[in-house]
C-alpha cells in the first residue's frame, strides 16, 4: 500500500530559482535564506521518498486565460521545463509517475473532485523552485513527481476548505493504491507577499507565524480564512497559501512539525519552508 510519509510547505519565489541557477546562493543577500534549507535537504534525502505530489499554481506558463482549470493533475511520463518569458530554468526534466497519477485522477473524480487531466504540460517555477529548495542541484531529481495545479491567477481560487478536502481525498486515493510507495506531498506558494499595485511589498510576519503554527495546532481553523482576509492581511498574492491546505488535508491530524525556516525578504516575499512528519500521525 502507498503511504504519505511527510508534508512539505514551501514558497516558490522565482528569484530563489534564479539565485540558484546563477550561483548566487552564497551572497550576503541570499545566504541567510539558503543556509536554512540545508537541514531540510538532509532530512528529505534520508527519507528517500519514491514520489512527490506537488501542489502548485501555474503562472501563465502551461495554461493561459484561454483555459483556467481550478484543479488539475498531470499524468504524463515526464514534464518539460517551461519558458516563462526568460528561457527555461536549467534544471532537470521532471519525471512523472503515470500509474499512480492515473489512479489518483480516477479516484479523485469518483470521490467528487472534478479534476482536469493533463497528458502534456510544461512545469514552471511554481513546481521547480520547491524541488530546488528541497533537493539542491542534482543531475536528475531524486524522485518522481505528480503535479497538481490549483488556479490562483484568476479570482477566485478555490477556498481553503475545498483545498483541504481535496487533500483528504488524495490521502484516501493514495491509501487505495496497490504499490508499496513512500510519498511526500508539497503545498507551495506564499507566504505573505504582494506583487502588484501601490501596496506591493506587503509582508505580515504575525499572520505568517500564526499560519505556520496553525498547520499543526489547528489546521481546520486555518481553512476558514477567507480570500479577502488573505489578501488584506498577507498581500494579494498571499492567497496562494490556500494550496498549503491541500498538503495539510492529505496528512493525519497528528502530523508533527520537524523543521521550520522563515526569512524576509526573498525578492518581494516572505519565504518559508515547513516540514511535517506524517509517519505516526494517523
Amino acid at each position: 500500500m502507498a503511504r504519505i510519509v511527510a508534508g512539505i510547505a514551501s514558497s516558490h519565489v522565482p528569484a530563489i530559482g534564479v539565485a540558484m541557477d546563477k550561483g548566487q546562493t552564497g551572497t550576503p543577500y541570499w545566504q541567510p535564506l539558503f543556509r536554512g534549507y540545508e537541514p531540510a535537504r538532509d532530512w528529505l534525502a534520508k527519507l528517500k521518498p519514491d514520489v512527490a505530489i506537488i501542489v502548485y499554481n501555474d503562472h501563465a506558463s502551461a495554461f493561459s486565460l484561454q483555459l483556467i482549470p481550478t484543479f488539475l493533475i498531470g499524468v504524463a511520463d515526464e514534464f518539460p521545463i517551461a519558458d516563462e518569458g526568460f528561457g527555461p530554468r536549467p534544471v532537470p526534466v521532471v519525471r512523472g509517475s503515470p500509474r499512480l497519477a492515473w489512479h489518483l485522477a480516477e479516484s479523485l473524480i469518483l470521490d467528487e473532485f472534478d479534476m482536469t487531466i493533463a497528458n502534456e504540460m510544461p512545469v514552471d517555477h511554481g513546481l521547480t523552485v520547491p524541488l530546488s529548495v528541497t533537493c539542491g542541484q542534482p543531475a536528475a531529481w531524486p524522485f518522481a513527481v505528480i503535479p497538481i495545479c490549483v488556479n490562483v491567477v484568476q479570482f477566485p481560487p478555490p477556498t481553503g476548505a475545498r483545498c483541504y478536502k481535496l487533500g483528504q481525498a488524495i490521502a484516501r486515493a493514495v491509501a487505495s493504491f496497490d504499490e508499496d510507495l513512500s510519498i511526500v506531498i508539497y503545498g507551495t506558494g506564499g507566504m505573505s507577499h504582494q506583487l502588484q499595485g501601490e501596496r506591493a511589498g506587503l509582508i505580515n510576519r504575525d499572520f505568517d507565524t500564526k499560519f505556520l503554527d496553525g498547520m499543526t495546532r489547528d489546521p481546520l481553523a486555518l481553512t476558514r480564512i477567507s480570500h479577502t482576509e488573505y489578501m488584506r492581511e498577507s498581500g494579494s498574492e498571499g492567497v496562494e497559501m490556500v494550496m498549503w491546505h491541500v498538503m495539510r488535508g492529505a496528512l493525519g491530524p497528528h502530523a508533527t512539525e520537524v523543521y521550520r525556516h522563515y526569512h524576509v525578504p526573498a525578492s518581494n516575499t516572505a519565504a518559508a519552508l515547513l516540514i511535517l512528519d506524517n509517519r505516526s500521525a494517523a
Binding site: A60, G85, Q154, F155, Q196, E198, T228, R232, V264, N268
Partner: protein
Amino acid sequence: MSGPPDYESIPGTYVYDARRGRIGYRLNMFCMSLNKAENRASFKADPAAYVDRFALTAEQRRAVLERDWLGMLKVGGNIYYTIKIAFCDGLTFQDVAGMMSGVPKETYARMMLAGGRSPDGNRYKSGTLPEVERGTPSTAPEAGVVPGSPGVTS
C-alpha cells in the same frame, strides 16, 4: 452579486476578478505570447507593430508601449502576465514592484530588507469602514488602526 466586492476596500490592490477578466483578456494574451523566444524578438524589434497584432484598446496599447505598469493593471492587466513584459526588458519582479509603488528602486529594496511594507495602516482604503465588510470571518483590524490612517491610498 450586489455592491462592490469586500476586497475593493483594500488599498493599492487590483484583484484580477471577473470585471477585470472581461476587459483584460487580449492584453494578457499578448503578454502570454512573450513566452516564446521568437515573439520576444519580434516585440523587441518593433514593439508597436507587434502589439498591434493583438487588438488592444488604445489605453492598453499606450500602457504597454510606455511601460506604465500600474496603468496596465487598471485596464485589465494581470500581474502574472504583465510581468512577462518586464522579463523581456530585463527587469525583475522587485524592479517592477518598486515602480508600481511609486518609490525609487533603492527605497523599495531598503523597505524589503527592513521587513517589507507593514499591513498596519494599509488594510483599508481611506473612508472605507471595516464594519461593512462581508463574508469575512471574525478578524477585526487591530485597535489603533483606523480608516484613514497613513498608508497606501488609491
